[in-house]
Symmetry: C2
Subunit: 131 residues, 2 copies
């Protein structure tokens, strides 16, 4: 049982399914747009935050430290338009709005979270190696 920690069994052959996703290399491919949205600085953070459950506007603002109100609004709007985030507004005063993930959003965060975790785990090593 020793150190199972991060012994990722490096799959030297992690290929793209060449027949299907090869198109990302083409300039006009729509996947480029989608990729830009989901790999955007704040997009990643918001998606990951929402993977932990429903959040209100102000909770997200506090969670994603450093985000401005403008960027939060913009990011949420994009993700909502992409069908990744669901916006539920209650017509009360003061306003109460809940954000959560759609099915598609959950599907995506399942892939995003390992990436973020990897970045976190490797960040120090990577930046240290640059003297």
């Amino acid at each position: 049982m020793a150190m199972e920690a991060k012994t990722l069994s490096v799959p030297q052959l992690a290929h793209l399914p060449a027949d299907s996703a090869d198109g990302v290399f083409q300039a006009g491919c729509p996947s480029r747009t989608v990729l830009d949205h989901i790999t955007s600085k704040w997009g990643v953070l918001i998606l990951v935050a929402l993977s932990e459950g429903e959040h209100r506007w102000s909770e997200l603002r506090r969670r994603a430290e450093g985000i401005s109100e403008k960027m939060l609004a913009q990011t949420l709007k994009t993700l909502e338009r992409d069908g990744l985030v669901l916006r539920k507004a209650q017509p009360v005063i003061p306003p109460h709005v809940d954000y959560s993930l759609t099915d598609r959003g959950y599907e995506l965060t399942a892939l995003l979270i390992p990436l973020v975790t990897w970045a976190y785990d490797n960040a120090d090593d990577i930046l240290d190696g640059q003297r």
Copy 2:
């Protein structure tokens, strides 16, 4: 009435390992920098291209359609500094330089490829839903 079709069996409790990667939400966290590199527009494409094996400069240039020479140079330099890409230059003329992934690079692309594949598979759906 009963048009709440979007309900989901929320299958993925794909949580962050809260104890470890939670720090990404903090403003000064080094993982933010690393995340920016590996989720950059061209960074993703170059990494995925290299996951298919060694490539020469001009091969990468052709593969990642639309990239400028400046961006290719810059992206490769960043990835090399991050210890994700290996540069092997043969001192011949005309110059011959091969780029490949390091172990760490392979580890990363193993996570990146599912993401890119997902983006490709869902791109049309996502963009169509915005009429």
